[in-house]
């Protein structure tokens, strides 16, 4: 497994540069920040124009479910960060366990999100439903943004979990190890970004009142 120190010809296609790999990941994360940043901008303007309607609509969300999901994501951020520590120290077994815990947390998050969304469906609050079309414009804007932003975030949760699953496979194969852990590190960075976005989504949608 220890071929990471052997000489490779420059530009042979077999180069590996961990520092550049991480920098590339961060550049990608910046584009993600601006993607969600744009959505937060839309949220800010519509909330400013429809303050009372946003407040009223936010009562439809369950603060406690949001709090539990926040705690789940924060905990999963810790487990994936610890997985990196474990792998860097050479304990790949612990790294795999901690990565599995992170995926488990991702699934837990999605299950809670599923119950929250289906609750909204039952109340006819999804865009296009009969009840939805009858509520005031301000509240409709709130739910448009709620479904789009939490939906896009949930998509990121799924992608992050898939990345971590792939990483677990590669750790088992020995392709990711204590000398070469960039893929785990970058998946971890992606996972933390998912957490970071939720840190803002939670107060903006659940804690208005």
């Amino acid at each position: 497994m220890d071929n990471s120190h052997t000489f490779v010809l420059p530009n042979s296609g077999h180069n590996f540069d961990a520092k550049a790999s991480k920098m590339g990941m961060w550049l990608f994360l910046f584009t993600e920040l601006l993607l969600f940043g744009g959505l937060f901008l839309v949220y800010m303007i519509y909330r400013y124009l429809n303050q009372d309607a946003f407040l009223l609509a936010s009562y439809e969300l369950n603060v406690w479910l949001g709090t539990i999901n926040t705690i789940i994501l924060l905990t999963s951020s810790m487990t994936i960060a610890m997985a990196i520590t474990a792998l860097q120290k050479g304990n790949s077994k612990l790294a795999i366990t901690l990565s599995w815990l992170t995926i488990l947390a991702a699934l837990g998050f999605l299950v809670i999100k599923y119950f929250e969304w289906s609750g909204k469906f039952e109340h006819g609050l999804f865009p296009g439903m009969e009840h939805f079309n009858a509520i005031p414009l301000g509240e409709r804007l709130y739910f448009y943004l709620y479904f789009f932003m939490t939906g896009l975030h949930a998509l990121h949760v799924i992608v992050g979990a898939v990345f971590i699953a792939i990483v677990i496979r590669l750790i088992k194969k020995g392709k990711i190890n204590k000398d070469r852990y960039s893929l785990l590190e970058n998946s971890g960075l992606y996972w933390h970004l998912v957490d970071l976005i939720w840190i803002y989504l939670f107060p903006l949608f659940y804690l208005i009142h």
Binding site: T67, A81, H192, L196, Y200, L207
Partner: protein
């Protein structure tokens, strides 16, 4: 990056390793801040504008904690800090221009 600190472990590629206790401490701080923001929102319902500002302030403290410790930014080379400042300045510029647009209509 450098090996000056004696108690800090490093990887085979000489990168700083964050310890388990550091990660746990970060987690405890984040949970505490989360509970704080929830309680302020529930019991401070009369001070609406104030709670929005507090909620955003706490969220920003949490985001910084995640970025610095979990995302390891604290231990990265200086260029990362420059990038962060440029990206944040870009976003604040967008924000500022949009606010300006809405306020002058």
């Amino acid at each position: 990056m450098d090996n000056k600190e004696k108690n800090v472990e490093h990887t085979s590629t000489n990168e700083h390793i964050s310890g388990y206790t550091e990660h746990f401490g970060t987690w405890a701080a984040l949970i505490l801040l989360t509970l704080m923001t929830v309680f302020i929102s529930i019991f401070g319902a009369d001070l609406r504008t104030l709670t929005v500002a507090t909620a955003l302030l706490i969220a920003t403290v949490k985001a910084l904690t995640v970025a610095l410790y979990y995302m390891h930014l604290k231990y990265e080379p200086k260029i990362y800090k420059v990038w962060m400042i440029v990206v944040m300045a870009l976003f604040l510029f967008f924000l500022f221009m949009v606010i300006l647009d809405y306020l002058t209509r």
